[in-house]
Each structure stands twice: as C-alpha cells, then as structure tokens.
C-alpha cells in the first residue's frame, strides 16, 4: 500500500489542525424561541485524528460538519484551518479550500452515474485543473489499496453499495486532503460492508495523514474512530476516547 500511495502522500505542513471556536448557527433567526442548530460548539481535530460525532436527529451533527467544512457560515464564532480563520473568507476562497484541502463522503456516495469509477475518483483533480492523465494516474493508485482493483472502468450502477462507497472514499482522498468529512458514510450499508468501508476509510486517511470527522448514528462506526463526541440540542454533551 505504502509504495502505491507514495505519490499521494502530502508534504508536511505547519499546523493542519481544524478548530471550531464557539460556533453558533440558527436556521430560523426570525422565529422566537427557535433553538439554534449549534449553540456555542468548540472543538479541535488534531492532524491525522479521527473523530466521530453522534447524537439524536436534530442535535446539530450535520450542521457542525457543514460549518467546519466551510459549506455553511456560522452566525457566531470562527473556524480555523491550518492557522487561517475562515471568518472573512469569500465564497470563492471557501470553495477553493473545500476542493484543495478537504475531502467529502456522503451517505449515498453521490457518484456521477455516467462516469466510470476512475473518472469519478479523478473528478476533484480535474475540476481543480489537473491534467487528465496525471489525475487518472493519481486516482488509479487508490484502487488497489481500497480493494477496487479491476473495477476502474465500471460505472456506479455496476458496483455494489460497498464498492461504490469505497470509490467515494477514493474520490475524497485523491486530492490528499487535510480533513475528510463524512456524513453517515455507512448509512445505506449492511453491518459487514459497513465494517469494511470504515476499515478502509480510517486506515487510508491515517496513512495519508488526513484528519477524519464522521457524523454517524451507528456506535459501531464511531468505534473505529479515536474519539467520539456526543451532541444534543446544538451542544457537545459528552466525549469518549478509544
């Protein structure tokens, strides 16, 4: 695996820590007594660390992920990545940041159905302007370590749920991101396949030095992570280390 992934290993940087500082987010600020989705959440995700966020529906898990990833702006507080505040960052800057520094895995994979697996994986690099041959070479390096060897030309409709989700993991990692954000990445998978996907997601992220932030309802999934945060009513109410 090490040899195949050598070309993907990112250069060490000063401080690839993700910080959330007293984050507040309200979706209906005009509605009186409407509880905020985030009510002053602070957390730090160390380089290479994997963190699971658990909690009941509506507790603010996905909002926290969106705010930390720069998808949604917080009403109060700040997100700091690599020593830089995102508070005043323009939409274009945040878009570039998401493309170049972060990776994403969603519940249903969100692969492009018309593209073969290898082009799906190479897509973030192509969107960033990388030469196609180089982008596909980098994408190809991820297939064997993820147990996807030989499936490069298959389209998402020709893959099993677990295979499709591993392709999504490859797509999230192909740009050697600093952080991978995963929103219920195993929500549509059975227990066995879910374990396989988590094995690959945590192992490969750690190998590439990427931090991992996973939103999940599943305690088994959280068990793969270094740390689990519990949320309720927009606040972190508990923390457990493995």
């Amino acid at each position: 695996m090490t040899q195949q992934l050598h070309s993907l290993t990112p250069p060490p940087t000063a401080d690839r820590t993700l910080l959330g500082d007293r984050l507040v987010k309200r979706y209906a600020p005009s509605v009186q007594d409407s509880p905020p989705a985030l009510a002053g959440v602070s957390l730090a995700v160390a380089p290479g660390e994997s963190v699971a966020v658990m909690g009941p529906s509506g507790s603010g898990k996905t909002t926290l992920l969106h705010v930390l990833a720069g998808i949604v702006r917080p009403d109060e507080g700040d997100v700091v990545w690599n020593g830089n505040s995102l508070r005043g960052a323009s939409d274009a800057t945040r878009t570039t940041l998401r493309r170049s520094e972060f990776g994403f895995v969603f519940q249903s994979g969100q692969l492009i159905p018309e593209l073969p697996a290898i082009e799906n994986v190479a897509l973030p690099l192509l969107l960033g302007g990388t030469d196609r041959r180089q982008a596909e070479a980098r994408a190809a390096a991820l297939f064997a370590p993820l147990g996807l060897g030989g499936l490069e030309r298959r389209r998402p409709g020709e893959l099993s749920g677990g295979q499709a989700q591993r392709v999504a993991i490859a797509r999230a990692l192909v740009g050697t991101p600093g952080v991978v954000f995963a929103d219920e990445p195993t929500g549509a998978l059975d227990q066995h396949t879910s374990g396989e996907v988590m094995h690959h997601l945590t192992g490969l992220s750690r190998h590439l030095g990427a931090s991992l932030l996973i939103v999940t309802h599943d305690a088994n999934v959280a068990g793969w992570c270094d740390r689990t945060l519990h949320m309720q009513d927009g606040r972190i109410v508990g923390e457990a280390r493995r």
């Binding site: 990833a69 878009t95 593209l115 082009e119 897509l123 969107l127 389209r155 409709g157």
Partner: protein, 437 residues
Amino acid sequence: MNVLPALRTARRIERATDSSGRLPNTLAIVAFSVATAALLIALAGLHGFQVRDATHPTDVSYTYVGLAACAAGLLAAPVLTLGGVAARLTVGRRDHRLATLRLAGATRTQVVAITLVESGRLALLGSLIGIVLYAGSLVPLSTLRFEEHAFSYRQLVVPLWWLPLVVLGVTLLAVVSGAIGLRRVAISPLGVTARHTPRGLSVVRVLLTMAAVVVWVAIGSSLQQAGVAVLLVIVTLMVAIANVVGPFVLGLAGRLIARNARHAPTLLAARRIIDDPKNAWRAVGSMGLAITVAGVGGSMGSIDTSDMNRTQQLIAQDMRTGSLLTVGIIAIVAATSTCVVQAARVIDRQSELRALARSGAQDRTLIAAALRETSLPLAITVALSAGFTVVMMAPFAQYLNLATAGWIALSVVASIALMLGTVRLTRPLIRQAVTEV
C-alpha cells in the same frame, strides 16, 4: 383499485407543492403551448393555400398547397419531439412524490393513473394557451406575401372544429408518451428507478443511412424534372433517416470526445452523451432539421431564375419566404425542446450538483459542464446536417448561385444563436441548485 380518491390526494399534494417543485409543470405547459401553436400555424398556412386554391385558383395554386403540406410535414417531427419531451418531463420529475404515494399504500395502477391524468391535464392547459399564441401570431402571419398577395384573416383562421381536434391530439400525445415513459421506470415504495441503462445503438442505423445516400446520389439527378412536392417528400424521408442515424453519430462522437477530453466539463458532457445519445439528439435534432430545411429550401430558392418565366420566378421567391418561415418555426420549437431538456437535466441532477459544489466545484465549472452537454451535440449536429444538405443538393449544384452559401450560413447562425440563447436561460436554475448547499 379506486383511482378517484388517489387522484384527489395527488391534486392536494400538487397544490401544496412550492414554486420550485412546480417548475417542471410550468416547463411542460410552456412546451405543450409552443408545440400547439407551431402545429396550428403550420395548419393555418396549409388552410390558407387551400382556401386560395378553392376561391382564386391559378396554374400553380395547387403546387403551393403541396408545398404547404410538405412544410407542415417537416414541422411534424420537431412538434412531436417537443410534445414527447414535455410528456417525459411530466412523468419523470415526480419520483419522490410517486414513491411516497406507493409507500402510503397506493397501487401501481393508481400511481399510473395519477401520472397520466396529470400529463393530460398539463397538455390540455398548454394546448389551450397554444391556441391563444396562434391567435396572436395571425397578425404577423397576415403580413407575409405569397403569389404577390398577403393572406387575409379568413384564409389563416382554421375551421373552429379543428381546434378541439388539435387539443385532443396534443393531450393524447402527452398521455401516450407518458405511458411509454412509465414503462421504463419501476415505481416502488422505495423510490423510482430506471429499469435498465441504455444500450448501445445499432450500426444498422448507419448502414440504412448510407444506403439512402447512395440511392439519392444515384437517382437524384434524374429527379430534376420531378415536381417540387415530390422532391420535398423525398427530403422529408431523408430527414427521417437523419433522425435514425443522428443518435448513433452523437454516441460515436461522444466516445471520441470523452477519450480526448482534457477538462472536467468536456469529459462530463461527453460521458452524458454516451450514456443516452437519444436524449442528446432529442435536445438538438430539430435544429439539424432546421439547417437541412434552410439549406434545401434556400438552395431551391436561390436557383438562377433569369431564364425562367414570371410564375417560376415567383415560386422560387416564395420558396425562399416559405423556407425562412418554416426554419423560424422549427428553430423556435427546437430551442424550446432544448431548453426543456436542459432544465429537466438540471432538476434531475440537483443533488449531484449540490454534492459537487459542497466538494469544492466552482459554479462556473458546473455551468460550463451543463452548457457543453448541449453545445457539443449541437456542434456535431450542425456539422452532420450541413454535410447532409451538401449531399442532398449535390445533384442540383450546376443550377445554384453564390447566394445559397450566404443564405444557409445566415439561417444556421441565427438558429444556433437562438438555441444557445435559450440554453443560457437555464443558468439561474443551475446556480440555484449549486448555491443551495
């Protein structure tokens, strides 16, 4: 199986849907309106020449009836395509709602009935609006001069009993197209899924077209003395064959482009063409027809008339006018088809677009990919149609003058500009999908 309560429930859900959820219905109504108006305008032209032939017959008035019938025949393909596109839109964009109804206990029969009634309702509404559009077009149409005379309103207003027939026809087209569209999807309580991925298109399409071209080249020159109506019927058949080979060529070109694409927007566009070349052709095929009509009609109208008598000169001049009118209507119908297909694609891919935007794809990249999905097949179709027209007119080359090239080029450029302009109308829709992260 009780259909009426299901229909009432579906209507209540429909009324409660917000404006963005109603967009597919609005697009479908626009498409049915344009299709109906185009059909009625073509019939009005035919009726006008029939009335002239009956009330003021001349040596060539029956030839004009034949030419008008050919023009109406040429319009049939794009109008049917637009109607079909609109019907697919009414069927295909209800995934979530249909699945929810199935989950709530609706039978497959009830869901099919809801969908078809809804398609018919939108077609009925659209065709009624189309009648209003047709009525509004009578003023500009009455300024056109054929045989040195403008049409009177009496000549252009079709018999009133034609109107319910047209409305019925459009509604039936929507229901039948909707039923065909439903056969391709499985509506289960867990969602609406396509039954299979599209298969590759048969090479028989190409062989058929090559055979037709060989036959044309062999017999074309012997047809120089044949009546214009006969030639236009042959042109119509050739256009039908172009519709057979068009999707095949688009699929082939898509593979070539995908293999050599260097950037994400081109790669995405090419892969989507390969995935469903028939859909890509539906979006742009009518423009190919417009170009062929512009080329053939324009060429015939540009034949050197200095040795002809006054009547022949008039026919040549009127063919130019008729071709221009036909091309204009086809271009509007084609642009509407493209716009509806493009909007439907964006609506279909909202979650995909959103995921890409979340992952850091820039708005302009996603918009470029979406626009290229139309502009690539359009460019291929333009090249194909222009080549096809050159082959069609080769037997008559000795009679053509230089004005032909200018005429064709102008019509082609105007038609393409109209189509690309309407595609750009869908940019806000893409931006909306992308920014709702």
